[in-house]
């Protein structure tokens, strides 16, 4: 069956296998790099498109608020800023919860979308599927309503049995709104 083992053929076979396999993978990597990057870009574009009104182009920038850095996409249409899609990450119930929050220059939340989460399936994970919870963010005006869950005296409807997730989600939205407020202030100075 298998060949007899001696040092020479052992080293040769192992070395050759490693070489061949790395070559195959190197080639595969070069071939798939473009589609992988395209897929990642498509995902971000989709998230931005979902949380902002129609725009022509976006630019990726960052801003510091209270020592925390927020990355955001500034969306421009016809030379005018139509909104900011802010990447906002907080600690949820099961781990990091990261959102894309679209805010228009007047400080109103246009829409939100979940980038990644580690919440409990069927409970906190509903922040990504529960229609009632998700719909309330569309057009949420922080100057007219209070950005905290109803249990804490605010105007946000929490997901049933997932107060901690809802609080974290609200906090992420609030951070994004504050970041945009800071941006607008910077622009007018």
């Amino acid at each position: 069956m298998a060949a007899v083992s001696n040092l020479k053929n052992m080293v040769m076979v192992l070395g050759l296998t490693c070489l061949l396999c790395s070559a195959v993978l190197g080639g595969a990597y070069a071939l798939t790099k473009e589609p992988i990057d395209a897929a990642a870009k498509a995902k971000t574009d989709k998230a931005i498109g979902a949380v902002l009104p129609a725009f022509d182009e976006t630019s990726y920038e960052s801003v510091d608020v209270d020592g925390k850095t927020y990355n955001y996409y500034k969306a421009v249409k016809g030379g005018e800023t139509v909104g900011y899609a802010v990447e906002s990450s907080v600690v949820g119930f099961g781990g990091p919860l990261s959102l894309m929050v679209g805010v228009t220059p007047d400080g109103i939340v246009h829409n939100t979308s979940v980038l990644s989460h580690a919440e409990t399936p069927g409970l906190g994970a509903k922040c990504n599927t529960d229609a009632k919870f998700m719909a309330q963010w569309e057009g949420f005006d922080p100057s007219a309503k209070i950005l905290s869950v109803k249990k804490d005296g605010g105007d946000v409807d929490a997901i049933t049995a997932s107060t901690i997730t809802s609080r974290a989600y609200t906090e992420a939205v609030k951070n994004a709104v504050d970041a945009v407020k800071k941006l607008e202030e910077n622009d007018h100075e």
Partner: protein, 200 residues
């Protein structure tokens, strides 16, 4: 404080067997007797910590600078296989008594997915542990790996205790062996679910 949170999280909240489903095959395979279970746990503990140290350094100083992250899987598994072999040889020479205790489990550990699982997790996943979400540094990664393997040992020893009692009880024929073991693990996992959300 952060290290304390990592330890609690890795042992109880995100127990590697009961919440993350890693290393199930040896978990079901050698948990028949308390003595073998504790031997296996010690061997796993040793290898996971050592493997995490080596793979973390390889990833940081070899794969990332040369943009070879796509070779992660293949590089890590080779390192783990070589490491296990080396540990076996060194142990045989240096401490024959320890080799006697752990030796038979060592070859099984290469294909224990807990080892590769932890090695990949610490270099790819972001954690929080009371701080803003971040990648683990070497110290945190080692504490995480060590605590995770303690959690493995805990789950293993508890389960071995249960199984020693199960062996003496009258179980319906279709349930004998693995099925009843799985049902018992299910109940154990339910108990561990009580820890969820305790540490983020």
């Amino acid at each position: 404080m952060e290290y304390f949170l990592i330890i609690i999280s890795a042992i109880f909240v995100n127990n590697i067997v009961l919440a993350q489903f890693l290393g199930i095959c040896p978990y079901l395979g050698v948990s028949n007797k308390l003595s073998t279970a504790s031997g296996m746990s010690m061997a796993v503990c040793f290898v996971i910590t050592l493997a995490t140290l080596v793979t973390y350094l390889i990833n940081q100083y070899l794969l990332v600078p040369f943009q070879l992250e796509f070779l992660q899987t293949i590089a890590f598994i080779l390192v783990i296989a070589a490491l296990v072999q080396m540990v076996e040889i060194v142990l045989k020479k240096v401490s024959p008594s320890l080799y006697q205790a752990l030796g038979i489990f060592l070859p099984l550990i290469t294909t224990n997915c807990a080892v590769l699982g932890v090695a990949i997790t610490v270099v790819t996943k972001e954690f929080t542990f009371g701080l803003p979400s971040h990648m683990l540094n070497l110290g945190e990664a080692l504490v995480y790996a060590f605590a995770t393997s303690l959690g493995y040992g805990l789950a293993m020893v508890i389960f071995a205790g249960i199984r020693e009692h199960l062996a003496l009880s009258d179980v319906p024929k279709a349930f004998k062996g693995v099925p009843i073991a799985l049902v018992s693990v299910g109940i154990l996992a339910m108990a561990f679910m009580g820890f969820s959300g305790m540490v983020k």
